[in-house]
């Protein structure tokens, strides 16, 4: 499946560029991610626990960053193996553009699943993948923007992921 979207992040482009390569930020932003380590040069090792329809699995895999043009664009690609649940793999081309309010982040995502995930979850996989991508970039936006935009009603809920991590 393929999907794409854009969102405006109220932060300078350099800050966004740095955040997207930070394993701690990535760990906090990938939904269900329990472990993430590595660097842009060597790639990241990740463990993600997710439930897709009836299939719950722990995916272990690698994430690589390629085609990096600082601070404008990069390609994220990864493959996770979920054992008996099958596999998920995909890539996202992310571009960052300077705009008036900060940085426009645009992404084109392509995702594929195989094995039991495809067999049992094919009807829901598109919606699931879109939800995962939305959550990731939502989390990422919150992480980068920090608490500045938080509405006062739910301060705990909206506390910046980045702030949580970095204290």
């Amino acid at each position: 499946m393929k999907m794409s979207d854009s969102r405006i992040i109220k932060a300078p482009r350099e800050q966004v560029w740095a955040a997207i390569q930070d394993p701690e930020v990535l760990k906090a932003c990938v939904p269900g991610c329990t472990e993430m380590s590595g660097s842009p040069e060597e790639g990241y090792e990740a463990t993600v626990v997710q439930k897709v329809g009836p299939v719950k699995a722990t995916f272990k895999g690698q994430v690589a960053m390629t085609d990096m043009t600082a601070p404008e664009a990069l390609k994220l690609s990864g493959e996770g193996k979920g054992g008996a649940a099958g596999f998920a793999k995909g890539g996202a081309v992310v571009t960052l553009a300077e705009v008036e309010d900060g940085t426009e982040l645009h992404y084109d995502v392509e995702a594929n699943v195989g094995g039991k995930l495809a067999q049992l979850g094919s009807r829901i996989i598109d919606g699931f993948a879109k939800k995962m991508a939305d959550q990731f970039f939502e989390n990422f936006q919150n992480a980068v923007e920090g608490p500045g935009d938080v509405t006062e009603a739910e301060p705990e809920e909206k506390k910046s992921w980045l702030k949580k991590i970095t204290g």
Binding site: P54, G83, A84, G86, F87, N112, V113, G114, G115, K116, A118, Q119, L120, S122, R123
Partner: protein
């Protein structure tokens, strides 16, 4: 008054007592002391190169006995294909290796890569998770037409392309082309015969056992034909001679064709049991069944029908792509060719018929015979194009069919077969009567008053059953004979065990076969039992498929029983001090014609085994006879089907309101069982027409691999019983087998899909929607989309 016993009676199925009380003994019920369990690690990619398999960590896990990979099977035979097709240039088909476990490459989702044998199934599964397999993805070959282009990836690297064979059959090209060029009208239709998954209620199971003391292997397996498995696996895969290999197929919960074939898991369990000197058991999960049981159908066809100015069919030409999947399953190659092409004349006297079939390798599960096997595909193409021609010409579809019926028998078709007997006018008459066609317009108006569209679908079919004359199929490339065998063992007190090569997995042989023997001997059928499914007990027979059991194995049983009668008459003649020629057998009594002297069946059988007063100088003691029967021809069941659908134009939903089948099965032994077979067959055909579809994405991922996504027909998809009429009163007995039977197991699944689709198209036209065709399954979304187009 219907008969209450013997031929033509409908006793309740005796096997149902154990099935319905949970006392059936299926393969999964067989547990052998100290057995181990195997879990297969299967590919979750459609196509890839195996670069590494690391079992080190897995092998150390608790309970693991041994882990096998493709390397363990090097030098061991692959799974053989049972039918060699010669292509139109005279070359043999391409026949790639089919390893037990993948070697070097994986070629479909579900392809077994490694097998973990452990003390428990749970331990085997856990260890399989720890196996590290590195696979370099290759582009998946999924679409058949794309598979034949020069830039397609190759499913088998050692082949030059993905074409298994390019087959042509029937009338000469010049003859066909001339007929088309002279035609007053030509109707063309392109259609898909959707890929199906058989889904027997019982998944496949295999238990391999080995007795080191006498070097004997036993395989318990869910098979329709244990002797075929013993021959294929013993001779071609594992090299075990027949006398050291026993194959047992106990109670089997449905086959539908997909349990004919020899599968890797059977060979694996037999092989592994010898290696580890322990029984090895495999029970397929439902998920595994979806991606490892051979699938069915999957044809893409263009069909053209030529007619003259008087609407006589003058020529028919087909061009079909048939999916073989990743490997050649046991009888896969025969299905789109000899089981399909030879039926393309249908019930009609079309003088020129040519069939073209390209069989294609793809990265999908192997495709093989499924209830009807080739004949449903032929019938669907032919009857859909006839229906379209009738609409284009503005003639009544029944009239067009009647006008072109074959009426003289025997009839030699342009596609090699000779129909021995039939009466297509009679079955059509009967169908029209049962369908109450005179009131159809009133029913249509009623539907329209409710805002619905009502359609009437008509269909005729013929099939070739009782497969098959061995010398003929040998010429056509079969690597087996297709006779069958039966042994009638009469015991001392007169009871009888009949050992048959046929296998019953829902057909009711245990009830029907004794009815025949009881009728011949004039004794009570409770004295007779059938023994089947164990190569150590039964003579070498070829098993059950192609609606052949009664026509072929039943004929062998009749021949063996005739031998019993001949010998029993000799014994009776001795006991009665009469001439053998004067002995008559009636109601279980041997009597001397014209006298009141007689001896009972039991007196004769006892004399045979306690031969104190016995002509020992002339005949041997005992009363046991075996016969092998090789049919002289196929049998040709045929029929006329009709259905009425009600279509909701708001949603596209199709509801079957009434279904009528009028079949000619020749003589019928047990009408109740025949009706049950047809009811079930039609239900399966309705499933294909409206619901079922095995769907792959462009990466070769099987998307419909559970009952969430693969729609099986349910009771509420079928008409109520009063409107679900199966009739077999038109009977033209087969002329060349002793029972005059033709076979009824597949008819319903062959005749019903085009009937349903023809009805849907008719409904749409009645509402002003000029839809020419909708591919199966005719789902509400497809109907709705066609209406909006």
């Amino acid at each position: 008054m219907p008969k209450d016993h013997g031929i033509g009676a409908s006793p309740k199925r005796r096997e149902d007592a154990r099935f319905l009380t949970g006392a059936g003994q299926y393969t999964d019920d067989i547990n052998i002391h100290n057995q181990a369990y195997v879990h297969f690690l299967r590919s979750d990619v459609a196509h890839g190169k195996i670069t590494n398999i690391d079992t080190t960590e897995a092998a150390e896990m608790p309970g693991v006995v041994r882990i096998f990979t493709g390397a363990d099977f090097e030098g061991i035979g692959g799974l053989p294909c049972g039918w060699e097709i010669t292509d139109k240039n005279g070359d043999p088909m391409k026949e790639p290796a089919h390893p037990v476990l993948a070697q070097g490459k994986v070629r479909h989702v579900g392809d077994p890569i490694a097998a973990v044998v452990a003390d428990s199934l749970e331990e085997a599964r856990n260890a399989a998770e720890a196996i590290v397999v590195d696979i370099e993805d290759l582009p998946a070959v999924v679409n058949m037409k794309a598979a034949l282009t020069s830039d397609s990836a190759l499913v088998h690297d050692d082949l030059s392309d993905n074409l298994c064979y390019d087959w042509q059959f029937g009338s000469d090209t010049e003859v066909v082309e001339k007929a088309f060029s002279e035609a007053a009208h030509v109707t063309t239709l392109e259609l898909v015969n959707n890929r199906l998954i058989a889904n027997p209620m019982e998944p496949r199971v295999a238990v391999g056992d080995y007795a080191r003391a006498n070097d004997e292997s036993t395989l318990y397996t869910t098979s329709q034909n244990p002797h075929v498995i013993r021959l294929l696996m013993g001779a071609f895969v594992l090299g075990i001679p027949e006398h050291k290999l026993r194959v047992v197929a106990p109670d089997v919960g449905g086959g539908f064709g997909t349990k004919i074939f020899h599968y890797a898991e059977e060979a694996f369990c037999t092989f592994a049991a010898r290696q580890i000197n322990r029984a090895v058991k495999w029970t397929s999960t439902r998920s595994e069944a979806f991606m490892s049981d051979a699938h069915g159908r999957d044809h893409v066809t263009k069909i053209e029908l030529a007619l003259d100015a008087d609407n006589n069919f003058t020529a028919l030409r087909t061009d079909t792509y048939a999916n073989m999947g990743a490997y050649l399953s046991t009888f896969s190659t025969s299905v789109p060719t000899w089981l399909h092409g030879t039926l393309m004349a249908g019930n009609y006297r079309t003088p020129a018929v040519q069939v073209n079939v390209k069989a294609v390798f793809t990265n999908t599960v192997p495709v093989d015979a499924y209830r009807g096997a080739g004949r449903p595909e032929a019938t669907y193409s032919l009857e859909r194009v006839i229906d379209k021609a009738a609409r284009e010409l503005g003639v009544d579809p029944i009239k067009l069919r009647r006008q072109n019926f074959i009426t003289q028998f025997p009839y030699a078709t342009p596609v090699a077969v000779e129909y021995d007997t039939g009466d297509y006018v009679a079955t059509m008459d009967k169908m029209e009567e049962l369908m109450d066609l005179g009131n159809f317009d009133a029913r249509r108006k009623e539907s329209e008053a409710k805002g619905k569209l009502r359609g009437l679908g008509i269909n005729c079919f013929i099939e070739a059953c009782g497969i098959a004359p061995s010398n003929l199929v040998g010429q056509l490339g079969a690597r087996a004979g297709l006779y069958d065998a039966a042994t009638v063992r009469v015991n001392a007190t007169g009871s009888i065990s009949v050992m048959v090569g046929a296998h019953s997995h829902g057909q009711g042989h245990e009830t029907v076969f004794p009815q025949v023997v009881a009728e011949m001997l004039g004794i009570d059928d409770s004295l007779i039992d059938i023994v089947h499914g164990d190569t150590s007990k039964i003579p070498f027979g070829m098993g059950t498929y192609g609606s052949r059991s009664l026509a072929v194995c039943g004929s062998a049983m009749v021949r063996a029983t005739e031998k019993i009668i001949n010998k029993a008459k000799k014994i009776a003649a001795h006991l009665l001090e009469a001439s053998e020629a004067d002995i008559e057998l009636k109601d279980g009594q041997f009597s001397v014609a014209g006298t009141d002297k007689s001896v009972a069946w039991g007196d004769v059988t006892l004399a045979a085994y306690v031969p104190h007063n016995y002509p020992l100088e002339d005949i041997e003691p005992g009363l046991e006879e075996t016969a092998f029967y090789d049919p002289a021809n196929f049998t040709y069941p045929a029929g006329a089907y009709a259905c009425e659908v009600e279509l909701d134009p708001e949603t596209g939903e199709v509801k079957i309101e009434k279904f009528v089948s009028s079949d000619d099965f020749g003589n019928v032994i047990n009408p109740m069982i025949v009706e049950g077979q047809v009811h079930g067959g039609i239900a399966q055909g309705i499933g294909q027409a409206l619901l079922e579809n095995a769907s792959y994405d462009e990466n070769g991922q099987l998307l419909s691999a559970s009952y969430m996504d693969y729609a099986m027909p349910r009771a509420d998809d079928l008409p109520m019983m009063a409107n679900y009429v199966v009739d077999h009163s038109c009977q033209t007995p087969c002329t060349h087998n002793p029972l005059g039977v033709k076979g009824c197991g597949e008819a319903g699944a062959i005749g019903s899909p085009p009937t349903v689709v023809n009805a849907v198209i008719d409904a749409l036209h009645s509402g002003g929607h000029k839809v020419e065709h909708i591919d199966m399954p005719v789902t509400p979304s497809r109907v709705w989309a066609a209406m909006q187009a």
